[in-house]
Symmetry: C5
Subunit: 353 residues, 5 copies
C-alpha cells in the first residue's frame, strides 16, 4: 500500500513531474548497456550521468537496463536520448502501476511485475519492471538489481539459441518470458503450501489453519490482480505487428498461452483454498457439535443414578429397602445397570463418537 499512499501526496503536481513514488531500494542508480548483434556483443556499465551521456552504440541492437529509480536526472537523460514521452517516464517512476501496454509511434511501453514468494512468511512480494520496446532497442527499468534477467544476459553473452541473430523484438520476448516463468515458481510455492494445509486439515484442523488459509487467499488475490492485466498486455503485443516480426509472433502466442495457464492454475488454487475453508468450517462446527453431544450424553447417563441417590436420601420413615442389608448394593447395582443400559443405547445410535 506504500506506493498508493504516496500517490495522493503528488496530487496537484502537473503531469510529467518526475517524482519517484515508492521506497528507495538502492543507494546509487546503475545503468548497464548491452550492445549486440550477430557479429559481436559489448557490455558497458555507467555509474554517473556523464559516462552515460558520452557513450555511443556500435552494434545494431541496444539493451539498456536501469537499476534504481530515485535519481530522476538519469531517467530524464535516458528519456531525452530515446525520445520518450513524459508520461512514460512518470509511469516508470510510479512503481505501483498495474501491468499495462501503451503504444506510442516509435516504441511500445510495457509495465509488468516480477513476483517472489517467500515460503516462510507465505507472502508474495512483487517489484515493478518497465520495458520500452523500440525497433532497435529495448530499455528495462527496475528498482533494485535482482538478477532476474541474468539468464537472458547469459544467453546473449554465450550466443546460445537464436537470440543474437534475432532482432530487438526477440530480446523483448525473452525478457517477458522470464517474467512469466517467475509466476510458475510462485504458483508452485503457493500450491505446495495449500496441499500441505489440506493434509494438515484432514489430520487435525486447528484454528491456525483458518488464518493461514485467509492469508493465502489474500496473496492469491494480489497475484491475480497482476496476472489478469498481464494477459491483456501480452494479448495486445500479439496484435502489434509494427514491432514484432512474423517470426517472433509464435513465441508471443506461446507466452500468451503461459499466462492463460498461470491464470487457470491460480483460479484452481483459489478454488482449492475456498474448498478447504468450507471443509475447515464445517469440520470444526461438526466437531464442536459432536463434542457437546458427547458431553450431554455423559450428563444424561448420570441423571437417573443421581435421582436414585436423591430418592434414597429422602427422610421418610417408611421406605422400602432401607433396612435390607443388601439394599445399598441393590441400588448401586440398579444405578450401574441403568447407566450401562443408557450407554449401550447411545453407543448403538453412534452418539458417542
Amino acid at each position: 500500500m506504500a506506493g498508493r499512499k504516496k500517490r495522493s501526496t503528488k496530487t496537484g503536481l502537473p503531469p510529467g513531474s518526475l517524482v519517484h513514488l515508492g521506497d528507495r531500494k538502492l543507494d546509487h542508480a546503475r545503468v548497464t548497456l548491452v550492445d549486440y548483434g550477430s557479429d559481436g556483443l559489448e557490455e558497458k556499465q555507467f555509474d554517473t550521468l556523464a559516462e552515460c551521456q558520452a557513450c555511443t552504440p556500435t552494434q545494431p541492437i541496444q539493451w539498456l537496463n536501469v537499476y534504481g529509480l530515485h535519481e530522476p536526472e538519469i531517467l530524464a537523460e535516458v528519456g531525452r536520448r530515446f525520445d520518450l514521452h513524459p508520461l512514460v517516464l512518470e509511469d516508470i517512476l510510479n512503481t505501483d502501476q498495474r501491468p499495462k501496454l501503451d503504444e506510442y509511434a516509435d516504441y511500445l511501453f510495457v509495465v509488468a511485475r516480477f513476483f517472489d514468494y517467500d515460503d516462510k512468511s507465505m507472502s508474495v512480494t512483487s517489484e515493478q519492471v518497465s520495458v520500452v520496446i523500440g525497433r532497435q532497442f529495448v530499455l528495462t527499468f527496475q528498482e533494485k538489481p535482482t538478477g532476474n534477467f541474468n539468464p537472458v544476459r547469459d544467453r546473449l553473452r554465450q550466443d546460445r539459441g537464436p537470440i543474437r541473430r534475432a532482432g530487438a523484438d526477440y530480446l523483448a520476448y525473452a525478457l517477458l518470458d522470464t517474467i512469466v516463468d517467475r509466476y510458475f515458481a510462485v504458483l508452485e510455492g503457493l500450491g505446495e503450501r495449500v496441499e500441505e494445509l489440506e493434509e494438515e486439515l484432514m489430520k487435525k484442523p486447528s484454528s491456525r489453519v483458518l488464518g493461514t488459509l485467509h492469508h493465502l487467499r489474500r496473496e492469491a488475490t494480489i497475484l491475480r490482480r497482476a496476472v489478469w492485466p498481464l494477459r491483456e498486455v501480452i494479448n495486445g503485443l500479439t496484435r502489434s505487428n509494427r514491432f514484432f516480426s512474423a517470426e517472433v509472433q509464435p513465441y508471443l502466442r506461446d507466452i500468451y498461452d503461459h499466462t492463460v495457464h498461470v491464470i487457470e492454475s491460480l483460479e484452481t488454487i483459489r478454488d482449492l483454498i475456498a474448498g478447504l475453508l468450507e471443509i475447515y468450517l464445517s469440520t470444526v462446527s461438526n466437531r464442536v457439535n459432536r463434542e457437546v453431544r458427547v458431553l450431554t450424553v455423559i450428563a444424561v447417563i448420570f441423571l437417573p443414578s443421581s435421582l436414585l441417590a436423591g430418592i434414597f436420601g429422602m427422610n421418610f420413615r417408611h421406605m422400602p429397602l432401607l433396612d435390607n442389608p443388601n439394599g445399598f448394593f441393590l441400588v448401586i447395582g440398579l444405578m450401574l445397570g441403568v447407566a450401562a443400559t443408557l450407554a449401550l443405547l447411545f453407543w448403538r445410535r453412534k452418539w458417542l463418537g
Copy 2:
C-alpha cells in the same frame, strides 16, 4: 438519497424546466472566469448577472466556473451565451446524476463527482461537478466553492507545465485528472481503516467490528457506483477525437489507467472487507462454541462427585464406609481423584482451550 426524493416531486414538469434538485449549499452563486492563452491570463469574478453579461473574452481560451446552482437565471444566461442544450442545463441542476458523457455537436458534456472521505464518521461524501468541454472553452459547475480545482488554477497563474501553451482539451484533462486523483485519497482512507480493523479483529473481535465492516462495505458500494461509470466516461473521451488533439490523447489514456487502478483497488478493498466479515463470523461462532464446550466440560467434571455425594447421602442402614473414621476423607479423595482424572483427560484432548 435527498436528491432522489426530490426527483419524484418534479414528475410532470416538461423536460428542460430549470429546477435545482439538491440542497442549497451556498447563499449567492459566484461565477469566475479565467481568460488565458500563451500570451497572458486574466481572472474575473462576477457576483451579479449584469456583470457577467457585460464581459467579453480577450484571450483564446476561457474557463468559466460557477459555484452555487440555486439561481437558475445565471445558469440560463451561461446557457444562452454558450448555446447549451436545455437538457444539459437540467442535468447540471439535478445534482444526483451518475457520471456520464453526452456528445453534442459543439461541445462535450461530462458529469462527474468529487469524493471526500471523513475518517471520523468513516463516511464517503460526494458532490457533483459538471464539465462542458468546447473547442475554445471549458465550463465547470459545482454546488459550493471547495477549492478542488485550485491546483489547476495555480498552474495556470504560475504558467507551470505546458498548460498555458496547450488548448482547452489539455485544461479539461487537467481538471478531470484532479477529480480522479481525489479517488486515491478516499481509497487510502478506506484502506487504512480496513487494515486497522483487521488488526483489531485479530486481537479481539467485538460486535462493534461487525457494524463497522458493514458500514465500510456500504461506503465502498457507493464509491463503486460512481467510479464504474466514470471509467466509461473517460473511455468515451479517449474515443472522441473531435475535441481532444492527438497530443492530449496519451494523457487521457493515463487517466483511464488511473480509473482502472482505482476500480481494482476498490475491488480489493471490497474483497478484504468480505474476507474480514467471514473471519469475524467464523471466529465469533467458534469462540462461543468453544466457550460453551469449556463450560460443559466443567459441568461434567462435577457430575461424578455429585453422584458420590448423593450416594453417601442415602439413608440405608447398612452402608459401607459410613462407620469408617476415614470414610469421609476417602470419599472426598475419590471425588478429587475422579475430577482430576477427567480434567486431565479433557485437557489432553484439548477440550479446555
Copy 3:
C-alpha cells in the same frame, strides 16, 4: 401469475387470435383521441364502436388512448384503421408481456409497464401499457383509466413547453418519460422502507424483520425483471432514426440515462437488503449463542455449591465441621465465596454479556 396461467389455456389457438389474457378491470372500454398541432387541439371521447368509426382527424398529429382491453372488436377496429399487424393486437391484449420493442415498417411497437408501490402492504404492482409510435400518430393502450398520462395531456392542453410544436416522436418521448419517472417514486418507497428496517434492525432484531426483508427482496426482483428489458427498449429507440428526429434524440438519451440510474438504484437496494439479511442472521445467531452461554455460566456458578451441599449431606459418622456450631455458616460462606469468585471470573472474561 394470473396472466401466465391463462396463457396456457390459449395453447392451440392460431397466432393472432384476439383473446384478452388478464383480469377484466373495467366495465366498458373507453377511447379518447387528442387531435393536435401547433395551430390547435381537439379532444374527443368515444364510448361505442360506431362513434369511433365515424371520426376523422383534423390536425396533423393524433394521440389515441384506449382504456379497457376486454372488448376485442374495438381493438380490431383500431388495428384496421392504423393497419396494425395481428401480432401487435395480440400482444396488446396479452397483459403479462415483458417490456419489448418491435419494429414494423410503418410504426414502432413498445410494451412497457406502469409501476405502483403500496407502502402499507409493501407490495409493488404493475400494469401493462402498450404504445404504438407512428410518424403522425401515437396509440396507447391500458387496462383501466389510471390518470398516469394526465401530466402530458395537461401540457398538450395548456401548450406548455415545445410539445405542441414538436412531432409525434416528442409526444412518444413525453409518454415514455412519464413511465420511467414512476420508477423513481417506487424506488423511493422501497428505499425508505429498507432504511426504516435498517434502523429497526439496529435497535432490536425481530423475526418479523426477516419476513419483511425477504418480501422486499422479492418485490425488488419483480421490479428488476421489468426495468432491465425497458433499458433495452429505450436503447433500441435511440438507435431507431426512422421515427425519432435528431432533435428528439438527446431527450431519448436522457430517458436512457434515467433507466440506467433506476437500475443502479435498484441494485443498491438489493445489495442493502442482502446486507441487512446477513446482519440479521448473524445478529440473531450470535444473540442466541450468547444467551445460552450466559445461562450455562449461571449453571456452572451453582455447581460447586450444590456439590458442597451434597458432601455435607452425606451420612458418614465422622465428618469434620458437622459438630462445629458455626459449621453451617462456614459452609454457606464457602458456597457464597466460590460462587462470587466464579461470577467475578466470568464477568472479567465478559462471558456474562
Copy 4:
C-alpha cells in the same frame, strides 16, 4: 441419464452409423404425411416401408411426421428421399441431444424438446423432437405418438388462420410455437408448487419441505438446460432469411420473445426456490436454538431450588430453621419465590418464547 449412458457404448463406431440411442417407446414406427396447399389437403399414414416408398406428393407442401425411432431403415429411407446428411439422421436417433440448429444447404435441422410436468411426482420429463425445415417440406421426428402437434394438424384440416395459404416456413413456425407454449404449462405447474411450498413453509416448516425444494431446484435446472439453447436456436432462425420469408419473421420474433419470457420466469422460480431454502434453513436453525434456550431457562429456574434443598439436607448439628415448625414451609415458599422471580425475569426478556 439413460441416453447419456448409452452414448458411451457407441464409442468407436464410425460417425453416421444409425443406432437408436434411447429407450424403445413404441412397438412399430409410424409415418404420417400431410400433403397440403391452399387448394386442398391430403393425409396419409404408412405402416410399412414399402407404402412409404410408393407415395408421391400431390400438393405444394409436405409435412412428414415419424413416430418411433427404433427402425433405422425407415429413417434411412426418409433420409434418401429428402437427401439428408448422415449426421442429421444420427442426431435424430440420438435422443438426448441438447436443442440446436444446424444449417445445411437445402434445409435447416432443429433439435428441440417437448416438456411435461407431472404434478404428483413433481418431476419434469422431456422428449426430443427433431424438425427438418426445407423450402417445400417439414419433417418431424418423435419417439412416440404424443398428440403434441394435434392442434396444428387440426388447424390445417379445418383451414383456420393463414396456415394453408402460407408456406412451409409458417408451418415450421406453428410447430415451434406449440413446443414453446408447452414450457408455459410446465412453468405454471412448477410455480404453483413453489407457492404452495411457500405457504406451507410460513405455517410450519418440516424437513420434508427441504427435500421438496431441492427436488424442485433440480427440475428447474433440467428445464433450464433445455430452454437456454432453445433461445439460441430461435434466435438463429430469425437470422436465417433463406428459409423464412419476411412475412413469417415477426412470428419468429414473437416466439423468441416467448422463450425469453420463459427463461425469465424460470429464473424467477429459481430465485424463489433459493429464497425459500434460505428462509427454511434460518427458520429451522432459529427454532431449534430458541427451543434449546427455553429448555435451558427451565433448567436454570430449577437450580436455586435444588441448591436450597441440598443445603437444608446437610447434616450439621446446628442449623437455623430446622427446628422451626414452619421451617419447611418457609423454605418451600423461598423456593417458589426464587423460581417465580427468575421465570418473571426471563419472561420479560422474552427468553421463554
Copy 5:
C-alpha cells in the same frame, strides 16, 4: 502438479530446448506409421531412429503416431521431416499443457487430453495427446501406448465408413471425435457416483460423504479446466477452412455440439454436487441440533423429580408426609406423574423426534 513443478526447473533455458517435462512412462519410444489412401493401406512400426529415417511414404496420406516422449532425438527427427516449429516440439514434450490450437502456415497444432476415470479411487486421470494436422498427414504424440486410437486404426484397416476415401482432415476429425467421446465415459462414471452418493445421503449422512463430495468436486474442476479450452480449440477448427474441407465441416460442428454437451453435463454434475453438499451440511447440522434437543428434554424431565427428592431429603424436624406410611410412594408417584406429564407435553410438541 508434477508437470508444473518441473516447469520451473526449466526457467532460464532458451525457448525451443527439447526437454521432456513429465514422468517417464515408457521404456522405449515407439513410432507407428499408417500410410493409406482409397487404394490401399500399409502399416509400419519403427523402434530405432535409423529405421524411421529410411522410410518413405507410398500412399497419399500418412498418419504417424509416436508413443513415449523421453527420447527427444526421435521427436527432433520427426520435426525435421515434417518441418515443425521448435515451439511445437517443445509443447509436445511439455505434457501439462492446457488444450490449445496453434495455426502455422503448413499445419495446425492441437493439444488435447485423454481422460480416464477410475471408479475405485474416484479419481480422474488424464494424458496429453498432441495432434499435428497437415494437408496430407496427421501426427499424433502420446506419452505411452493406451490403445485409445485403436477404433480409428481398425476402421482404417477394415475400410469401414468413408475414412479411407476422405482426406487427412477426416482422419483428424475421427481422432478428435475419439477424444471427445472419452469425456462421456468419464462423465457417466462421475454421474453414477454422485447418484449413489445422493441415495446414501438420503438414507444416512455420514462424514465420509462430505470428503467424497469434496473429492468429486475437485475432480470435476480438473475435468472442467480441460474441457472449456477444448471447446475453444474445436470452435477454432470449425473456423479454419484452410485445412478442413466443406465436407468435413459438419462433422466438426458435430464434435463441437458434443463438447458443449459435455460442458453442460459437467456443470449439471457440479450443481448436483454443490446441492448435495448443502443438503449434507444442513442435514447434519439439523440432526445434531435435534439430538441435543432430545437430550436436553430428557434432562428437563428429570429436573422436578430430582428437586422433589432433594426436598424430602431436607432435615427439618417438622415436615409433612414423612411419617405417613405411604408418603414415600406418594412422592414416587408424584415424580412419575410429573415426568410423564412433561414427556407427554414434549412429545406433543414433537420435541422428542
